[in-house]
């Protein structure tokens, strides 16, 4: 089973890009499954269903989305194996700009859009900088020059990855992505595999449900800003 993690800031076009790439794979009659990780609510499962793609949704609710992801992903792979998918894709929004669901030895895609501004590649952490493939979306609505500048900024942030322009509406570039997905990593189980980066380690009183503000309420792993 080919397993690919797709991440990216909210509303960057992850679902549209996946749908367009899967449309390109249709003639090959591959069995595709998608795992959608989100925080509070999502309707993306309906979009997948409309294209006859099986999907499962995981909502992290009040938990750290990344911790939720990593505690579930190996079960997800087992689920994928049981259903004999040829391609399994996990889709998750990168919320704090640092974390990413990227796993060593699993093809990692980051989706980012042209409208985010040229400083965004700098602000996004390992999700972008350690991805194998960076997909840039919404290229049809900004100028060629801005696209070129943005691509260079991404190249600087991630010198090694493949940079691909995909249009989530027209599907331009989706066949290229589909080809890369088809050549993605073969995975049977994730037990024993490792994340590319460590997850956020807070474990403070607020992790345990504290809501009051003030020094005496801050317990555990607390880091302070330098203000003066």
């Amino acid at each position: 089973m080919k397993f690919i993690t797709v991440s990216g800031p909210p509303s960057s076009g992850k679902t549209s890009v996946i749908l367009k790439a899967m449309e390109e794979l249709k003639p090959k009659n591959l069995k595709v499954g998608v795992l959608k990780f989100d925080c509070l609510t999502t309707d993306d499962d309906k979009l997948y269903a409309a294209q006859n793609i099986d999907s499962r949704v995981g909502l992290s609710g009040s938990l750290c989305p990344d911790h939720f992801f990593v505690s579930n992903i190996d079960d997800c792979i087992d689920w994928g194996s049981r259903h004999a998918y040829d391609v399994l894709i996990s889709e998750s929004a990168g919320l704090c700009n640092r974390c990413s669901p990227h796993i060593k030895n699993c093809t990692a895609v980051c989706v980012i859009d042209n409208l985010m501004g040229i400083n965004t590649p700098k602000k996004i952490g390992p999700m972008l900088k350690m991805a194998d493939i960076v997909v840039i979306t919404k290229g049809d609505i900004v100028s060629q020059a801005e696209r070129e500048i943005f691509a260079l900024k991404i190249r600087q942030a991630n010198p090694e990855g493949i940079i691909l322009h995909v249009n989530g509406i027209t599907g331009q570039g989706a066949s290229q992505l589909a080809a890369l997905i088809e050549n993605g990593t073969q995975v049977e189980t994730l037990r024993g595999e490792e994340l590319r980066i460590s997850m956020p380690s807070a474990l403070c009183s607020y992790c345990l449900g504290e809501t009051q503000i003030g020094k005496e309420k801050q317990k555990g792993n607390v880091r302070k800003m330098k203000l003066d």
Partner: protein
């Protein structure tokens, strides 16, 4: 490079500063070598970045290599593009060979869904019988290196369309400078003036260095996009998509691009634009149905059409001035 101090590194390779910037690395002591510098970074700092010392050093080396690749290829140019035909949606063979040379204007016509985008995607991807059409793309009569597919400095096609807007909150001069710097071009000021001069010629409504990018009118934006693409885009092929009512002098726009040795592809059904091209590719059912050369009598027809267009333009201008059209 590993033996240079950071100071020497920055003076020899000015773009190296971007490595520090994009990774949020503060430079305090410029007398260290890059390896020494990386070794002094605290573990916790790197953990926040999700990387270790070794990984960061490796990223630095790859960064420098990539930037050098981009600098070397700032004049990516090609002489010709050849499409070796594949099959249409029904598996029928299409026209088997189409060669387009630098400086040519080629129109692409065909109904929506006929496969115009697919042809373009094949060119962009430099297809080698690995797309549904089975087409093969040759550059200067050779199979292009596969690495070109993913290198931003070998991007074949630049695009201009009616739907595109400027989104950066920056003035025209700074914007052009940023684009020129991203291409590692030296004569930035000269290029900037040239681009603004040509853009103003295309739109007829003058703007200058200090005009905010986002306050340009539709026509001014289009004009700047054309001029900027002509002088600063890496891509040797320019695709123009539905730019019928752009409010710019289309003939001059095409001349400008062709003068900069671009291959211009236009997806259009506007007869005025379609007849300006040297050839027309007719797409039908996913394949190249035929390639027409613009005939002599078509060129005469173009003159008539241009006259009609001029009349329309005059009327438009008079309306703008508040005159009567009687």
């Amino acid at each position: 490079m590993e033996n240079l101090t950071i100071e020497e590194l920055l003076s020899r390779y000015p773009y190296a500063i971007e490595f520090f910037d994009v990774n949020g690395l503060p430079i305090e002591d410029k007398q260290k070598t890059i390896q020494e510098y990386i070794n002094t970074l605290p573990y916790v700092f790197l953990e926040d970045m999700g990387i270790n010392h070794q990984g960061l050093f490796k990223r630095f080396l790859v960064f420098m290599q990539r930037m050098e690749d981009i600098r070397k290829e700032r004049n990516f140019s090609i002489h010709s593009l050849t499409v070796l035909g594949g099959t249409d949606k029904n598996g029928k063979k299409e026209q088997d060979k189409l060669k387009i040379s630098m400086g040519e204007i080629i129109c692409i016509v065909g109904p929506t869904g006929s496969g115009k985008s697919r042809l373009l995607a094949d060119i962009e991807w430099m297809a080698q019988k690995d797309t549904p059409t089975g087409r093969r793309i040759l550059i200067d009569d050779c199979i292009p290196p596969e690495s070109w597919r993913f290198s931003i400095e070998h991007k074949l096609v630049a695009q201009l369309s009616q739907n595109m807007n400027f989104v950066m909150d920056i003035c025209v001069g700074d914007f052009i400078k940023l684009h020129a710097q991203s291409r590692m071009i030296d004569d930035v000021d000269d290029k900037t003036l040239k681009i603004i001069h040509h853009a103003n010629e295309l739109s007829g409504e003058a703007f200058d260095l200090n005009t905010p990018l986002t306050s340009l009118s539709g026509g001014q934006s289009r004009a700047l996009m054309v001029a900027d693409t002509a002088f600063l885009s890496t891509s040797p092929i320019v695709l123009i998509d539905e730019i019928e009512n752009a409010g710019i002098n289309r003939k001059k726009a095409l001349e400008l691009l062709v003068d900069q040795n671009k291959i211009v592809l236009i997806a259009t059904h506007d007869p005025l634009l379609a007849l300006t091209g040297d050839k027309r590719i007719v797409i039908k059912n996913g394949g190249i149905y035929k390639v027409l050369e613009t005939t002599e009598s078509e060129k005469q027809r173009l003159e008539q059409l241009t006259e009609i267009d001029n009349v329309m333009m005059q009327y438009r201008e008079r309306l703008r001035k508040g005159e009567l059209l009687d």
